[in-house]
Structures are given as structure tokens and as C-alpha cells.
């Protein structure tokens, strides 16, 4: 009974002892088991959650280590279409403010000497609090909250 339809292909191999058949069978088995392997691999790959650091929903941006920022130095962080400056103004004090001019959205440059931001397009100027000092920009720059945790700087945008 056990040698019914389901096992009829085993029998020639078992009786005739032809190696070729046995070999073919193992080969087929190996081949088919690759499906299981591939399927498991694919699902495992799919299940690995991607890192979320670049989602547009992300509110907190990691900037890097505090000691990598020199005092008085500004770093332009490219955060999608709304880049911002992170400026270390003192040993413990780090500020972050938008790098997008409020006039017609040019990207500002940091002026180390005057401790302010200058717009290359129409020479609009801002101080480090984001206030307009001169030029066409109509509004102050948005500033962002900065927090330092374990020597690591985060900006909440």
C-alpha cells in the first residue's frame, strides 16, 4: 500500500540501482530545496526594517559628535529641501537655524567674521538669532531646538 502511486518513481532506482536516476533525484531535491532557501532569504531580507534616518516624517536629525564641531564653525546640514546650519557658538552652546533665505529660498552662507548669515542672491543678511539685519528678506529665519545627549548633537526640525 505504501508503494502506491506516490512512490512509483522510487522503485526503479531502488531495484535497478541505476546511479543516474538516484543522482537525478538528489539533484532535483537539491534544486527544489533552493526554493525554500530563496523564499526564506527573500522574506528575511524583506523583514529587515530599513533605517529610518531619512524619512521625511523624521523630526529629530542626528548631526554628529559635539567635539567634531569647532567653536565658531558652522555646518550646513542638507536636510532635504530644507537645509539648516548647525553652529557651535560656545563650548556648550550649539544653535541651529534654517539655511533657506526667506526672500526667494536661496541657500545662505555663514559669515564667520560677522557671525551672521549672508544670502548670496540679493545680499540679505541675518544674525545668528535669525533676525533680518539687512536686505530684502521679509521674515526672520526659523530656528530649531538643539539638544546634546552623550556628546551627540541632535536637532529637532
Amino acid at each position: 500500500m505504501a508503494d502506491g502511486a506516490g512512490r512509483s518513481d522510487d522503485q526503479p532506482g531502488a531495484e535497478g540501482g541505476t546511479d543516474r536516476r538516484g543522482f537525478l533525484k538528489t539533484l532535483s531535491g537539491a534544486f527544489l530545496s533552493l526554493w525554500a532557501l530563496g523564499g526564506a532569504g527573500a522574506i528575511a531580507a524583506y523583514m529587515r526594517a530599513p533605517e529610518h534616518n531619512e524619512s521625511s516624517n523624521e523630526r529629530v536629525v542626528r548631526i554628529g559628535r559635539l567635539e567634531d564641531l569647532r567653536i565658531g564653525e558652522a555646518r550646513l546640514v542638507r536636510h532635504g529641501v530644507s537645509p539648516f546650519f548647525v553652529i557651535r557658538t560656545g563650548a556648550e552652546h550649539v544653535i541651529a537655524l534654517s539655511a533657506v533665505c526667506t526672500h526667494v529660498r536661496c541657500i545662505l552662507a555663514y559669515d564667520h567674521e560677522r557671525r551672521g548669515l549672508i544670502c548670496p542672491c540679493h545680499d540679505g543678511r541675518f544674525d545668528l538669532n535669525g533676525n533680518v539685519v539687512s536686505g530684502p528678506p521679509p521674515r526672520a529665519l526659523p530656528t530649531y531646538e538643539v539638544s546634546t545627549r552623550a556628546g551627540e548633537v541632535f536637532v529637532r526640525v
Partner: protein, 377 residues
């Protein structure tokens, strides 16, 4: 062969495994349950030992439905299974909130490894499934398979078509992109315009206007309520089929085969189906749209294609309840077609009925084409 007792020394490892299981749980019950879903075909006696049951399954000749035109019924089940698998995978990442829907869908397609494949397979699968259930309905009608004793088959075919369209409609909203959002809005407008049923459905769905509530309800309908109902009707389909047998169109009896051949065919079809979906997904991926903006309607957004005909009807210069009543009327007569035909008696012969069906189908096509263009005046 069947005289071999289970205690023969020729017992293979497989036999021993079967006996081991059989001593602990009654797998026959499970197989009996599976017969309802058409995979295993033989009536299974749950009191007999598993080995006997397996043997019986193996040796009983059966009519294979893995052939045209019966394959349409198989495809409604197989495609649904593929949709369920890919849908469950999607649900691992998808977030049904106004804030998260778009981002999570985009993240599936863009950032998750192989996520694009799962997403596109799900989308293409839904397309095919809608096509398959509609074609199947047409073929059942054409071959008169709503007549006794197949009324239930027809009824569940109509129900499956309706469910698939609901699944597709609810699913399409989920990515919450500009296209899906606005085409769902168009669709909801149609639903709302239906007399009596409209307000009821709108209440079910969370309101007449699009909102996060609607998204959440669509999600629940999409991944739980409708799939469960769908399974119920798949059961009904196979249950009637096992009772009344496959149809014999033109008096040709389906060929008998063995379970082994039948099962092999099923695996091959599944494999081909999957490979086909993967191919479509790779070569013709769906376009990914921008996020939904409730304050800006993209130009020329239409409801999903199967809603174009009602959409066109509602654009006619008639009071809304007239096309509404026509639609609701059609929707309610369709499942009860067998009873209506019987009531009509001999006045409707097969040929006339077919022509009438053809006319309705033609009208639907024309209206659909119209619906695609009315807005672009």
C-alpha cells in the same frame, strides 16, 4: 496493495512519520477540512487512520479543474492566496494613518529590501483578480451555469466579484497618494449617490467625505472583513462543486486524473502565476505618485475603472435617483438571476438570454468608455 498491513517490515521512514502523527492527532480531520477548499477532492472519512486516508486520496480518480474553463474558479482562489501572502507582508510595514500611510508605503517600495516586489505583486495580483472574477462571471452566465443545481455557485460567483471589487477599491486608497486619494473620493461620491444603500454604506465606511476615519475603516475592511467573507464564498464555491460536480459544457465530461497529477498541476499553475506576477512587476511597475493633498485635485482623476460606468450614469442629465435606482436594481438582481430566469419560464430561451446578457455587457462597456471621457470636456 491495500492488503499490506501497517506493521510490515517494509515500512519506510515516511510511513513511520505518518503513524507517529496519527497516533497523536487526527490529521484526517484536517484533510477533511481542506476538502472544502477544493485542494483535496475526495470525501474523507475522518474516522479512518491517516494512512488509509492518504491512500484513498492517492488512489481515488478525480475530475481535474486545472483546465480551461474550470481554471477560472481555481484562479480566483490561487490569486487570492497570493494576494493574502503579499498583503500580509505589506501589513508588516504599512501604517493606516493619514500621516503614516504615504510614508510607510513609500518606504516599503523604496527602502525595504524587495518591498517593491511585494508591493507590485500585490497591485498586479489585484488587477488580475478583478479581471478573473469578472471573466468568470461572464463565462458562468454564458454557459448557463446559474441554473439548478448551480444557483449557489452563481450566487457565490457574484459575491466574489463584488468582494474583489470592494477589496480593490479599499486597497487602492491605502497608499494615500494623490491618485488613490482622489479616485477614492470620486468612488465615494458614487456610493453616496446611491439611494438607500448609499447612506448605509457611507456609514459603514466612516462618512461621506474622505478622512482618516475612512482610511482606517478601509484598512480594516481590506485586511480582515472582506478577506474573511471572500474565504467564506470560496468555500461555498468548492462545496457546491464537490456536490454537483464540474460543469459539463456541451456534454463533454471532464477527464479523470489522479491526485498526484492534479496536485502537480496546481503547483505548476501557482508557480507560473507567481512568476507571471513577478515579471509584470519588474517590467511594468506601477507609477508611484506624490502624496495626497486634500486641497488640490489633480486634473482628470477618475474613479477606479470598474466604477466608470456608474460614474458616467451619474453624469447624465437626470435626477440622481434614476441612475441610482438602476444601479442598485442591477446589483440586487444579479445574484438572483437563476430565480428570475426560472420565473420567466420558457419565454426566455438560452439564446435570447445570452443576447440580453451581451447587450447589458455592451452597455456597460460603452458607459465605461464614456465615463473615462465625460470629465475632460
Amino acid at each position: 496493495m491495500s492488503t499490506l498491513a501497517s506493521e510490515t517490515p517494509a515500512r519506510t521512514r515516511r510511513d513511520r512519520a505518518v503513524d507517529w502523527i496519527d497516533a497523536r492527532i487526527n490529521l484526517s480531520e484536517l484533510f477533511s477540512f481542506l476538502t472544502h477548499f477544493g485542494l483535496i477532492y475526495t470525501p474523507v472519512d475522518t474516522r479512518r487512520p491517516l494512512r488509509d486516508v492518504l491512500e484513498q486520496i492517492r488512489t481515488t480518480p478525480l475530475e481535474s479543474y486545472a483546465r480551461w474553463p474550470h481554471i477560472l474558479g481555481l484562479l480566483t482562489a490561487l490569486l487570492f492566496a497570493l494576494e493574502a501572502v503579499s498583503g500580509i507582508l505589506l501589513a508588516f510595514y504599512y501604517q493606516p494613518t493619514a500621516l503614516g500611510a504615504y510614508d510607510s508605503t513609500r518606504s516599503i517600495v523604496r527602502d525595504v529590501m524587495l518591498g517593491w516586489l511585494v508591493h507590485h505583486v500585490h497591485m498586479w495580483g489585484s488587477w488580475l483578480l478583478v479581471a478573473v472574477v469578472l471573466v468568470r462571471m461572464i463565462r458562468l452566465f454564458w454557459d448557463g451555469l446559474y441554473q439548478a443545481p448551480r444557483e449557489l455557485l452563481w450566487f457565490s460567483a457574484v459575491a466574489l466579484a463584488w468582494l474583489v471589487i470592494q477589496l480593490d477599491f479599499t486597497g487602492l486608497l491605502l497608499p494615500w497618494d494623490e491618485q488613490s486619494y482622489w479616485s477614492a473620493v470620486r468612488g465615494l461620491e458614487i456610493v453616496w449617490a446611491l439611494p438607500i444603500v448609499g447612506p448605509m454604506l457611507s456609514a459603514l465606511v466612516g462618512g461621506r467625505t474622505m478622512s482618516e476615519d475612512v482610511l482606517n475603516r478601509f484598512y480594516v475592511l481590506h485586511i480582515i472583513v472582506l478577506p474573511v467573507l471572500y474565504l467564506a464564498f470560496v468555500y461555498l464555491t468548492f462545496a457546491t462543486m464537490r456536490r454537483v460536480g464540474l460543469s459539463r459544457v456541451g456534454g463533454v465530461a471532464p477527464k479523470l486524473t489522479t491526485f498526484r497529477r492534479h496536485a502537480s498541476d496546481l503547483v505548476i499553475i501557482t508557480l507560473l502565476l507567481f512568476a507571471g506576477l513577478v515579471t509584470l512587476s519588474t517590467l511594468m511597475p506601477f507609477q508611484f505618485h506624490g502624496p495626497a493633498d486634500p486641497y488640490r485635485t489633480p486634473k482628470g482623476t477618475l474613479p477606479p475603472w470598474y466604477m466608470l460606468a456608474p460614474y458616467a450614469l451619474f453624469q447624465l442629465p437626470l435626477p440622481r435617483w434614476i441612475p441610482g435606482l438602476a444601479l442598485v436594481g442591477t446589483a440586487f438582481t444579479l445574484p438572483f438571476l437563476p430565480a428570475i430566469v426560472r420565473a420567466a419560464g420558457n419565454r426566455l430561451d438560452d439564446k435570447r438570454l445570452r443576447m440580453a446578457g451581451l447587450a447589458v455587457f455592451g452597455l456597460w462597456l460603452v458607459l465605461s468608455v464614456l465615463g473615462a471621457f465625460v470629465d475632460r470636456r
